[in-house]
Amino acid sequence: MLIVDKEGILIRYNVKMEKSMTPEEAAAELYPKDELYRAIAEAIFEGEEDDVIEGLEAAIAAGKEPIALIDDALMVGMKVVTDLYDQGIIFLPNVMMSADAMLEGIEFCKAESGASPETKGKIVVHVAEGDVHDIGKSIVAALLRAAGYEVVDLGRDCPVDEVIEAVKKEKPMMLTGTALMTTTMYAFKEVNDRLVEGGLSLPFACGGGAVNQDFVSTYSLGVYGEEAADAPKMADAILKGATIADLRAKFHNH
């Protein structure tokens, strides 16, 4: 059998470029100083749901307001996670597990206070009609929730009518659509046309599988997202006043 040294044949750029700092060391630099908040943030980073609840109980027992803990501890812990993900220090499954823990923590705080927290904004997500591949949508939804947005999840194989009704009812700041197949992504165009006909104008972020920038550029509300992680970045940009044209300028890279 022929074995050839890889020198000059390939480069493992991921090994070459790897950060020297471990995820735990990087996270430790970002945790809040307050001991009560720090314990919660650490539990979020570890994705340990039981420890999150334990930390919240301790903070409430120490006099912290349950609803304030969402912003002061849970979201701070989640931001550590998403920042490290953006920097390429941790991987997506860590974000998913942390998001699970954060959502459980939010439910706990809501139950304790009897009130609902304010979110950064509402976003409707769906998978194109005729398409049942929803792992991309699940990732988008988790990343948006992790970034503090309220997500209305219409699920997979979502009829165009249902998308239009949801936009009318929920009045979201952004709509997302994911699709795996070229044959189903055409539903996005129909969603776009129906929104425009109805006088509804909002960024319609589309991505996944065979979806590409050329296609998304053919309808007026469309903004192409190459990666799931683009979704919260688009939402943040909208909060700062970005228009569809601005979003296209920023996220259409090809």
Binding site: K6, G88, M97, Y186
Partner: protein, 459 residues
């Protein structure tokens, strides 16, 4: 059809495996023999989206595609070709649509065969439409639709029957996003195999009744999902060590088709097919550098090492400078096949195989494991407990970890090594008892995955 588990390897050693030759060649279609001493291109394509509006438009589109490919084959002088039509959902949900397409394509292929003598075969791959908006619905009315589709395409000209089945995907999607290796094992190795057993016995029955070939499946829904999420070297969505564990779990799962009556050639996007070929001796289709029109991978040369059919995965039908996409890609595939066939004819096949393998061996943990020598070792681990679907999947993943943990020449990142260490420990901690594992997982995932319906697996 009965289930006959593999408990031995088809090849006595890894070095015996080469491209273009399988222990059990398959005759199919119009004078084609697959794995009988030569490789053949397998061309894949997708209609333009607007073609799906009506049956007539769709049939016309596939006629254009088929004519384009066959014309290019004879223009450049290639001796054989396989066409694979992966159904758009309309073609499976309305079986008469799929049948009309198969008939139209086969008519054109017969004309070319008659006029030029080109050896060819038509594979049809109905979509796995066994699901509702919310849940997988693997048994019942949707299964009947899929089987009706198989029957109709088989009657109308399809020579090779395949599917990319979805069993286990609801649990896998949950597990893979949480670094949950036991969950991946349960999803692919156990649930996936159980559905394959059920589905492929029925497909093999149809193939036997209609006189066509039950070809094979791929774990596209799970192992390829892991590979795509893992992405390139700089992506941070899944450790590549976990992606290759998912791939090795897929080997015993895809093997189940051949235990239920399929005879090959396996489906192109099953990168696990190298392990399946080592165990079954059946011919396999692969895709790599010539499927970049559909997706990227990190083993474009290596995966060609032991192919019998060489595929481009899928390309949307439209114009390019060099002709239509199907013409361009079918030509590229066939030049690769011409090179492999030259190597076979001149006795240089092992040299070319090794050059292909060596050029990607250290590119990634995925390519390292799928190098034919390591893939063979994973196969041996599978057949050791071939009769126990849990243990053989666990063995595959464990052997994958062992090979990576003792690798030489492969550089891995701290992330990849960390994920590997965690997976190794989790696999070591698993029970040796199938029943215990199955019942523990059933309770866990029923509680954690709302869309998991055990009745899909007769559980």
């Amino acid at each position: 059809m009965a289930i006959n588990r593999f408990t031995t390897m088809a090849y006595s050693e890894a070095d015996e495996m080469v491209f273009g030759r399988a222990k059990k060649p398959v005759k199919a279609g119009l004078d084609l023999e697959i794995g009988a001493g030569y490789t053949t291109a397998e061309v894949n394509y997708a209609p333009r989206p607007e073609a799906g509006e009506t049956k007539e438009k769709l049939v016309n589109e596939y006629q254009r595609i088929t004519k384009d490919i066959m014309a290019r084959m004879v223009q450049v002088g290639f001796p054989s070709v396989v066409l694979e039509t992966e159904h758009v959902q309309q073609m499976t949900n309305h079986p008469e649509w799929g049948a009309a397409v198969a008939h139209a394509q086969k008519t054109i292929m017969e004309e070319y065969h008659e006029e030029y003598g080109i050896k060819c075969a038509l594979r049809h791959t109905p979509g796995d439409v066994r699901e509702t908006k919310e849940f997988l619905a693997l048994r019942g009315d949707k299964m009947a639709v899929v089987m009706e589709s198989f029957e109709q395409v088989a009657e109308s000209g399809a020579d090779l029957l395949s599917i990319e089945s979805m069993g286990g995907k609801e649990v896998f999607d949950y597990a893979v996003l949480r670094n949950d290796v036991p969950g991946m094992l349960y999803a692919i190795g156990c649930l996936g195999t159980m559905d394959m057993d059920y589905l492929w016995q029925e497909i093999a029955k149809v193939a036997q009744q209609k006189g066509v070939t039950a070809a094979g499946d791929t774990d596209c829904a799970q192992a390829n999902t892991a590979m795509f999420i893992a992405g390139g070297l700089l992506d941070k969505n899944l450790a590549h060590t976990l992606a290759i564990i998912a791939r090795t779990l897929a080997a015993p799962r895809s093997l189940a088709a051949y235990e239920a009556g399929a005879i090959g050639p396996g489906k192109d996007c099953g990168y696990e097919n190298i392990i399946v070929k080592a165990i079954s001796g059946m011919p396999m289709s692969f895709e790599g550098k010539t499927s970049t029109c559909a997706h990227s991978d990190v083993m474009g040369n290596l995966i060609m090492q032991c192919c019998d059919l060489w595929s481009n995965e899928s390309v949307e039908y439209h114009g390019e400078f060099g002709g239509t996409t199907v013409q361009c890609w079918s030509e590229s595939l066939n030049y690769d096949c011409a090179l492999m066939n030259t190597a076979l004819k001149s006795g240089n096949e092992k040299i070319l195989r090794d050059l292909l393998m060596a050029s990607d061996r250290f590119r990634d943990p995925q390519s390292y494991i799928l190098a034919y020598d390591n893939a063979y070792k994973v196969g041996q681990a599978i057949v050791k407990d071939g009769n126990d679907i849990y243990l053989r999947a666990k063995n595959a993943a464990t052997e994958c970890c062992n090979i990576l943990n003792t690798s030489t020449g492969l550089e891995m990142t701290k992330f990849e090594l960390g994920a590997l260490a965690k997976a190794t420990a989790e696999l070591e901690a698993l029970t040796a008892e199938s029943e215990t594992f199955m019942s523990d997982c059933m309770a866990k995932y029923k509680a954690e995955v709302p869309v998991f319906k055990p009745e899909n697996y007769a559980l």
